[in-house]
Amino acid sequence: MVNGYTASSLKEALTILAETNAVPYAGGTDLMLENRPGVKYLFLKKIPELRSITADERYIRIGAAVTFTEALASPLVPPLMKEAVSHIAAPAIRNAGTFGGNIGNGSDKADTVVVEFAADAKARIVSKEKERIADIDKVFLSRKHLGLSDGELIAEILLPRKGLERYAYTKVGGRQSQAVSFVSFAGVFGLENGRITNAAAAFGAAGDAVQRYRDIEKSLIGKTPDEAKKVKADYLRAYEERILVNQSRVGPEYQRIVCLNLLNDFLSRFGV
């Protein structure tokens, strides 16, 4: 077809990617906003390997071309991710938008990416020559910056099977649907034998980045919730200093206050 390639297998797609400058096209909802003149698309929709949701011992594996609507219908997708996905835009966009595309378009407001940060998700990256598994924060670097080389394609998103049961998720947008996030928050909490094992907190849409601060999280690890309460003020102050904010749809002060409010609420829910 003119200005486009359709691949029916991953192998075929990777060959096209290696040999042309085609842009991978999954759902189109972001690509078509700009629809850059002169662009050629590589259509991924017909590649079965990219369209399935499976599970192995450690991971739920979501194909990069799986749509948000498909994920909502799958019993394998964890509730945290479903909650985030259910608040994305509106049905027509959820029918088209995909997990790979949400990372690939490089938006700091991508709601699934925030969850992936909090969940310690990984991405399987493939190219004609090789494949690799990368942590999500090595794939999504910052707004419009991806850790992908030429010819590489996101094939799957890997969400841990365990440890996502205790979570908090909030999307803050200007209306009840079709809203671009002002701020989004995903938190994952872990508690074993009365001690905190995980307090992952990820922030989206603030300061043009998806943010997570593992060093601050560490200050709670190994503590009981009661012990953690005692250092909570310091912990919140540390976030207050670190969180990046800017002037976008909402101003920096709003972003900072809401991020901290949601963080505080997240810990409170789990007794901290």
């Binding site: 509106a90 909030t170 803050v172 947008g173 200007g174 209306r175 009840q176 649907s177 079709q178 809203a179 671009v180 002002f182 701020v183 749809r249 909402v250 101003g251 002060e253 709003y254 206050i257 809401v258 409010n261 949601l262 609420d265």
Partner: protein
């Protein structure tokens, strides 16, 4: 319910619901040139030159030099140019139009044009404006004395922002040179005659040289009152130069950036209170009109005329100004100046009541105007004012009083609630003496030999139902089945000028003329003959004539009334508020069609709630509007206000058709004040002063409280 109020299937239902209606962008493209506008990227500058790329055969560059007569669009004044004169006065001002057969080529040529500007210092702050387009002053009583004798004086300033119409169909017009030399201009519009008159002047062709048709129109809300005159002149000039049909349909960003909106306002209200009553109001209204005057004068008139709200205050002084800034020209929007002042006066009354320790609704009720009272312009409220009964009805429907007491208690916790109420009126028809002295509406009924009757009028169906309600009035009067009477989109070649589709006047003024014409036709009815009757407007006898010099007399013949209640819940962690319920009761006289009127009430109310809450638009320090798309300018979706309940209260108007009054604008007017009052209560009672009041405002207000 009156017989006429029973709902029927709308006459334009079938073509619209099946997607067969032809909007201006739906005409086949063959033989039609596509026009794209080259627009200013700076707020104020002298144009030194434009370097346009070489144009392929069949492509044209059209600018002010191509205007056959004067480069001035007739609106109220003539300051708006068709294409910019020596200077550009706002970001987005049209410099030229590129035309040609292929849209992408036209876009590329447009984008390759290089404009050299000599930048001039723009005026962006209306408080520092150097030019006042319109200024009005009037009042009655002894304001100085009342303030001198006051127990307490309140002095508050209220602000409202831009409000964008966000009609689903963007602006679009098309001009076609006809073989007989006439220019045919048609498109998405409210007023075919405005376009007709403006194009006639620009082409210098006389009435016979042009005709204008309103195509099926995808929403107006005032946004297609004056703007299509500008776009209509632009495509007409282009078609005149190219000798071919030219169509220009704006894209969404262009439309939001460059076309008219509701005027941002600053209203300063001073109130004198003596013995627990407001004895005097001193009002100063400032409207940011943008770069050209367009309809700002008329919009400002309605604002100042209604500055007193629904009250009768013995001493009042009103001063209003619409000033020039180097920003997008503002214009008509549903409510037409009234939403800004009702927001201010209703909020002020709440604040005064709370300060005095009185329940706001009790306080307001004590100040309500009554039949026979003076209006702000020394006219009279000639007819009953049904607000007290309406307040009781809405209280029963939503439990306002009980909730107001309950939410008035101190609240802690994440989610906090509030409920607010506002009282409004809306005068039907154009301001003051306009109807009688300037518009002088004419309607005709044409009876065909087969007994069918065509309504000939100029008011445009823009979704509000005129293609159905006009025939209903006529059919009812003639005793004909509805399918024997029809009303098509107006073409100035065929219909008389029954005035603009504006000011909640189509049913009130033109509809009554049609009823009278139908009575006349009934009296002369002769089977099998072609017949035509005509009816002309004159003010009803009871009206106190309006003196435009003194600003005295009846500004409007009849008022419609509303009580709006909004109940909301604020999430104190995120600032997001959820409207739990929006309840409105509206008196628009007899509904000519219940479904149609309810559709107006619900749609208008939701637009008002959007204006109060999420619809934020502003320009940056360069004068550029960033919220120029649907992702950044948020309008309500189906999920935002699910519990929106409206009711009608009928106080029929003896001089309107079957008792109808103006309807279209009223439901929007009360929403901002009700919303802000609910917000104030949820946030603990501290007075607030602006809309839209967004999630960000909420969080910043809560943060301030904590400090």
């Amino acid at each position: 319910m009156d017989k006429i109020s029973h709902s029927v299937m709308k006459k334009d239902h079938a073509p619209k619901v099946s997607g067969r209606s032809v909007y201006v962008s739906d005409y086949p493209p063959e033989g039609v040139l596509c026009g794209k506008m080259l627009r200013s990227t700076v707020a104020r500058a002298r144009i030194l030159d434009v370097d346009a790329p070489p144009l392929p055969d069949g492509y044209f560059y059209v600018d002010a030099r191509d205007v056959p007569e004067e480069n001035a669009v007739e609106i109220v004044l003539y300051d708006t140019p068709v294409f910019c004169r020596e200077t550009v006065e706002y970001i987005g001002e049209p410099i030229a139009m590129l035309c040609g057969p292929d849209e992408k080529t036209v876009e590329r040529l447009r984008d390759e044009c290089r404009v050299r500007y000599e930048q001039l210092e723009p005026v962006l702050d209306p408080n520092r404006a150097q030019e006042t387009f319109f200024e009005y002053k009037f009042g009655h009583g002894d304001v100085e004395k009342a303030f001198a004798e006051a127990d307490k004086i309140f002095d508050e300033t209220f602000e409202t922002g831009y409000h964008e119409h966000a009609y689903l169909e963007t602006q679009g017009m098309m001009a076609e040179p006809e073989e007989n030399g006439r220019m045919f201009v048609h498109g998405s519009a409210q007023n075919a005659y405005y376009i007709h008159d403006a194009v006639k002047r620009v082409l210098g062709c006389g009435d016979g040289g042009v005709h204008a048709l309103q195509d099926v129109t995808g929403g107006g809300f005032g946004g297609k009152e004056e703007y299509p005159s500008i776009l209509g002149c632009q495509v007409a000039v282009a078609a005149h130069k190219c000798g071919k049909p030219v169509r220009c349909v704006l894209d969404r960003r262009e439309d939001m950036q460059c076309t008219s909106k509701r005027h941002p306002s600053v209203c300063c209200y001073r109130a004198a209170v003596k013995d627990g009553r407001v004895t005097a109001l001193d009002v100063d209204v400032l409207f940011n009109a943008g770069a050209y005057s367009t309809l700002s004068g008329l919009v400002l008139q309605r604002a100042v005329f209604m500055a007193e709200g629904v009250y009768s205050i013995p001493h009042i002084r009103v001063h209003g100004r619409a000033v020039k800034t180097n920003t997008t020209p503002c214009g008509a929007y549903r409510g037409f100046g009234a939403p800004q002042v009702f927001f201010a006066v209703e909020t002020l009354m709440n604040h005064i009541a709370r300060d005095l320790g009185v329940d706001p609704l009790v306080f307001k009720a004590a100040h309500l105007a009554r039949q026979g009272d003076l209006t702000a312009t020394c006219g009279r409220y000639h007819f009953p004012i049904p607000l007290p009964a309406m307040i009781e009805k809405i209280d029963r429907a939503c439990g306002y009083r009980k909730k107001a007491v309950s939410y008035g208690q101190p609240q802690s916790g994440r989610y906090r609630r509030g409920i607010g109420l506002s009282l409004c009126s809306h005068g039907g028809g154009l301001n003051g003496a306009t109807e009688n002295e300037l518009t002088k509406s004419v309607v005709r009924l044409h009876k065909n030999a087969d007994g069918t009757v065509e309504v000939l009028a100029a008011n445009g169906e823009i979704g509000q139902g005129l293609r159905t309600t006009f025939p209903k009035i006529v059919a009812e009067t003639l005793g004909l089945p509805l399918d024997k009477v029809f009303y098509d989109h107006p073409d100035t070649a065929r219909v008389p000028n029954s005035g603009p589709t504006a000011g909640s006047r189509s049913i009130l003024i033109a509809g009554e003329l049609l009823r009278r014409a139908a009575v006349k036709l009934r009296e002369q009815w002769a089977d099998g003959q072609e017949q035509e009757v005509e009816e002309h407007y004159h003010d009803p006898d009871f009206l106190i004539p309006f003196d435009m010099e003194k600003m005295e007399g009846d500004a409007y013949p009849a008022y419609s009334w509303s009580v709006s209640v909004i109940e909301l819940e604020v999430d104190t962690l995120t600032g997001i508020s959820k409207v739990l319920g929006a309840y409105g009761i509206f008196d628009v006289g007899t509904p000519i069609d219940r479904n149609i009127v309810m559709g107006q009430m619900e749609g208008g109310f939701l637009q008002g709630i959007g204006f109060a809450s999420m619809e934020k638009m502003a320009y940056d320090r360069n004068g550029f509007i960033r919220n120029n798309n649907f992702a950044d300018y948020l309008i309500p979706t189906a999920k935002d206000v699910p519990n929106l309940k409206t009711m009608l209260h009928v106080e029929s108007y003896p001089f309107g058709p079957y008792g109808a009054k103006g309807a279209g604008e009223l439901p929007l007017v009360g929403a901002p004040a009700a919303y802000l009052a609910a917000m104030e209560q949820a946030l603990g009672g501290r007075p607030l002063h602006h809309v839209p009041f967004t999630a960000e405002d909420t969080i910043l207000a809560l943060a301030k409280e904590e400090r």
